[in-house]
Amino acid sequence: MGILDSKVPSGPLADKWTNHKNHIELVNPANKRNIDVIVVGTGLAGGSAAATLAELGYNVKTFCYQDSPRRAHSIAAQGGINAAKNYQGDGDSVYRLFYDTVKGGDYRSREANVYRLAEVSTNIIDQCVAQGVPFAREYGGLLDNRSFGGVLVSRTFYAKGQTGQQLLLGAYAAMNRQIQRGKIQSHTRHEMLDLVLVDGKARGIIARNLVTGEIERHSAHAVVLATGGYGNLFFLSTYCMGANVMAAWKAHKKGAFFANPCFTQIHPTCIPVSGDHQSKLTLMSESLRNDGRIWVPKRLEDAKAIREGKLKPTQLKEEDRDYYLERRYPAFGNLVPRDVASRAAKERCDAGYGVNKTGEAVYLDFDAAIMRYGREKALTSGMKDADDKTVRKLGEEIVEAKYGNLFQMYEKIVDQNPYKTPMMIYPAVHYTMGGLWVDYNLQTTIPGCYAAGECNFSDHGANRLGASALMQGLADGYFVLPYTIGDYLSNDIRTGKIPTDSPEFDQAETHVRERLEKLMSGKGEHSVDYYHKKLGKIMWNKCGMSRNAKELQEAIDEIAELRADFWENVRVPGTADSKNQELEKAGRVADFLELGELFAKDALTRNESCGGHFREEYQTPEGEALRDDENFTFVSAWEYKGEPKDAVLHKEELVYENIEVKTRSYK
């Protein structure tokens, strides 16, 4: 198991990062000018890494499939970003953020990485404010915070329900400054189709210009992948339509191990599925659980009447409602972590208490919060005897100020007014904790190939806490990768430009062209979406919120079959040498059809329940997840060996020296 060296520095936990930075090699400013770095993906992790690397003096080339870096899906993150600033004086600290993250991840993440994440979290807020990111503020002019699931402090910084947007535009602005200086060459509407290795090192990529269809060669001394997660494997998810695993999967096929593919986050508060035509699901921020109460009817007959439209939720008396999260988890209530909240919703709906036509929805109710805020506002405005109507009006104004854009979004999609009737929500695929295996330096098992942000596996274990994705993306991009990559690049100061006319580039390009031709030459029975939807159904039904050995094995067989059918019968119209959105989709779905099988295999191998991975065979009598620390305290890192079924498992044992491993309880 020699290859899986996590390279975690020795010494006390709190000093590891500082010591490491003090001892790694640096590249002098004059030499940085002779070194090229490719960054694929320009969301929070890629954008911030590209900008910082360019500031340091490297020549950076960025690639994104969107028409502008500003459109990466980080932009859709709503609720906020965590940082251990302790501005609220509620006992927060670097250690507590570290502890919450490891516990939230169900003790399946790497201690040293998580501690570093918590440590640099405070720098992120300082950096973003210096860039002009307009975070929410209190009347005194200082930054405001709110609470998120799985924690007992308020450490989440936010900008209404658009925190991801504001942070991404900050990173985009930092990139723009470097583009203007000529230090970043930005390639938009480009997709990476393969990674090029020379002498075993990542030395470039093959990319397709999505406007002209041209196949291009780009070389560099190192390649950074920051291409996000692979949740679109499920077809329906909160991801953007273009999100894909292509870059990470190509790297995997060239030797990068893929870690914990089955660790997927199913977010509890999304707008439920309405019909077969649906193309994506919309998230309602976790911040809503600060004020919304989740419930279903207590009696089956009431649930049935609601589904049939004979009863309205607002007509149901308080004592006839089951606030099941508050009932099951009194300590954390509606703010339990996402995996716990999602499973609890599924449990109630499976038992017949679902509240929409499909029976797959629960209520998220703001009535209590509206009245509570309204009464407070009435009192502070000197209205001691305000009637209910006035109180409600005042309360609605406050809720609107907090969540206005989310309520508007809900109303536009569902055509119901959430101020007047409770929202309906149901869990949906939202994030993938798994990803490319990286060491402490964020390097994959391919020398010179790095992975940052959601694309890697490193920090969230088996379940990510809310407002931690933005934190990790920016921590990796601004504060970790630009330094650790220097250690590697210090060996390249005499290498000179990497030529693109080498046999390695020839071979990679030939391979890419053959694959495109093969995609174009399917016999034409079904569209790409047909296969994507079928794959999504298999994944959701058999590899979703709860899994068992029998169905996972079925999934493996069905996906392999579907993949063979795809290559035989997919229909891709148009040509490969022009703009062709169907061809783009086909390439992405082809990768998902391989990853899906590895995902199921990984889930089948992990005979325990932890975080987002719930195996029905492993649960307590009360239905809580049952972890097996003795046998499964490790990272599963898969090595590619041809077909997904042949993938070989490598284990990185996880060692907890600074934290006591306990049963995760939110009761």
Partner: protein, 248 residues
Amino acid sequence: MKLHLKIWRQKDANSKGQMVDYPLNGVEEDMSFLEMLDVLNEQLISKGEEPIEFDHDCREGICGTCSLMINGRAHGPDTRITVCQLHMRSFNDGDEIVIEPWRAKAFPVIKDLIVDRTAFDRIQQAGGYISVNTSGNPVDANAIPIEKDVADQAFNAATCIGCGACVAACKNASAMLFTSAKVSQFALLPQGQVEATERVQNMVRQMDLEGFGNCTNTGACEVECPKGISLENIARMNREYLNAAVKA
């Protein structure tokens, strides 16, 4: 419901385009507008025809990728939303719906309904940033208190999604609302003061170079902006520009 669609088809930037009729049955009220186009595309593919290409990504109104003129209105008949948030319940059975790309000289058509908006990126590159390096040791985030109202105004300006509806809606194809939103965000914040003069001059210069038209205060941009970016931002940019000219 049954719809009569008239859609702009254009092979590439160098080809001539034309409107093409597509009747479509079985459209449901709960579908989003883009899901309706997905259904049409599935039918075209099954007939062996090339599907209609249109830009879209997040499908939740925040990435700013989708960009359609629907019956002559940017992002369609509903207000304060993008096309991807528009649902078919806004239409009636038997409606004729005309779908075109953004129309502006600075946004050339790439294919069908897709236009090239890189001019917007170049305007941002000209000065839409605060020149601060990543160091890990700037001042503490709470060292500069900022009045809540001012911070909120800066935030409102910063919510621009760069979709280009303002340009498409404007009879002059002016990019003043887009450019002024970024100028305003930084003009309002203390962090943005240091480079204020250069910023407004450079961004306006780039805006003019890209071939966007002039602003004649018709206000169509504000009406069609899915994020409700206010015309006040244009006024603020004009003030900033004038100040810069006086200083220079």
